[in-house]
Chain length 308, copies 2
């Protein structure tokens, strides 16, 4: 049941990002070949201007091995993955870089440093993660949030997750994104807390908490993405059948959805941590280069929009 179609970095997103100057980006613990190759690719596409943080000796020898002239870029020597994280977060805090790219480091380690109250890059907002998913041959993407950071968010956190993703969608050029509050049902039932949460988020949106978007739910995935399913189930609102954003009930649901799209449809998952001083491109060891490139493009578009 696996797709064998090649992954594609969406050309529209790439072109959009390339309208802006390369994004100054700290590559956190760059000392592995896959990381260096990703950073090289993003640099060659004019998406980032890297500062390579990690074991300087290893970084320089990998650069030679992959035939990448890094003479004009800064290399910051770090003795461990934690030190690389601290130094990279410091560069973001002081305004020397405008994005972080996860290198050879555990996400938890990087996020722990980034989230430190005093030394980190928190804002007075809740950080959340969003994937911008595209499939080969189709430039129209769909967002999944939060499949990475917030494990079991409740109403208040879901409102903040929505706010973060709405900002991202605005950056992508969708002025009024359609956000589907996904649950296992269209009915309000206390036995399924995600359905109750969804209704409360919609209510908050109706009171003005989430401007610049259409929010509806609870709805199941089929109603969100298929106009036919919405019609059969008699769900008629501005979001049903044409959602731009799937706000999932919990992390595992989002994780499964995004992975299923990657493995069954060769979807490219561009992913960012949002709502912090700078976005963080979190990639997984199993991610294809196209997803890493798309994440850098997404970060560029996001930062350019925030700076306006």
């Amino acid at each position: 049941m696996l797709s064998s179609a090649p992954f594609e970095c969406p050309s529209g997103l790439l072109a959009h990002a390339q309208q802006h100057l390369p994004l100054k980006t700290a590559v956190v613990n760059a000392e592995k070949e896959t990381v260096m190759t990703s950073a090289k690719l993003a640099t060659e596409h004019n998406l980032i201007e890297p500062i390579l943080v990690g074991d300087a000796g290893a970084i320089n020898s990998i650069a030679t091995a992959i035939n990448w002239d890094i003479g004009k870029f800064t290399v910051v020597d770090a003795g461990s993955e934690i030190e690389a994280a601290k130094l990279s977060v410091g560069l973001a805090r002081s305004g020397e870089v405008f994005a972080l790219m996860k290198g050879h480091i555990h996400s938890e380690t990087l996020m722990q440093e980034a989230l430190q109250r005093k030394q980190g890059i928190r804002l007075k907002r809740r950080p959340s993660h969003a994937f911008y998913m595209t499939v080969p041959g189709n430039e129209q993407g769909i967002c999944i949030t939060d499949a990475v950071i917030n494990v079991l968010p409740r109403v208040k956190q879901k409102i903040e997750i929505a706010r973060n993703v709405i900002e991202l969608m605005h950056a992508l050029g969708t002025p009024k994104p359609r956000v589907a509050m996904i649950s296992g049902t269209e009915l309000l039932t206390p036995e399924m807390p995600s359905s109750m949460d969804a209704a409360e988020v919609v209510k908050a949106a109706e009171s003005g908490a989430l401007p610049g978007a259409e929010i509806a739910g609870p709805m199941s995935l089929d109603v969100a993405i298929s106009e036919q399913a919405a019609t059969i189930k008699g769900v008629n609102n501005a979001v049903a059948g044409k959602a731009d954003v799937l706000l999932v009930p919990n992390l595992e649901a989002g994780e499964i959805l995004f992975k299923q799209m990657v493995y069954s449809m060769s979807a490219t998952a561009a992913g960012l941590v949002l709502g912090m001083k700078v976005p963080i491109m979190l990639t997984s060891r199993a991610d294809p280069p196209e997803a890493r490139l798309a994440s850098a493009a997404l970060a560029s578009v996001y930062v350019a929009h925030r700076d306006l």
Copy 2:
């Protein structure tokens, strides 16, 4: 991102079911055309011998309208959907039927009657739901459980969900099914309770609680279904990369996974409630006829195995 490939009832499953006598099945509130059409289809494929429960007048006139001679089948008159549920569950309790097929009735209403301690068809087991998913042109299916009944099961319930689906896999001819305990991570982390649950279920299995199966986890979806992802992530066990069963962390995660497979891959979802006196074919209004037919085939195979 929707698939336009036609749905297929897997021919292997159909042939397997047709080795057995038609399954005596109560169709619960049959008084709608889509329900009658499904029952007719399953009858014509020798999968079921229906008892049609619901408004007898409506049932007879729909039969005429869809050109189905129901003269040799029993029609049980019922004045409401609740009465239809009560009567159908009664037929199962007394051994007159060996399966229930959901008709024009809410799943909650039907399940409420079925689950009644005294009047229902409970066993001393926890009921759970399993989908047997197949994609066009591929007879090899994969099970998703539980995407319908158990909203947020913890360890004890997950062991019972596993036991039920293992029995189903045995019925399908897989003597040692590979069950993946799905989480959002391969690591054990208290911040993601599903990962801790998964490890406990695996431990129980190692102590002999779940014979006739290979159980492993926690693992994310990609590790469960892709040998390449399992290799990249260094996960090496009997299940990784070749799972027969995806035991999902919670209902919404399973719901999203099965819907995504239906809408992006034209997967056929055959679904049954397991672990009760008789299986219940639960279908949704938006299900295609192929999924209804496959559910009847699955019920037939399941009941034949249990009777051995």
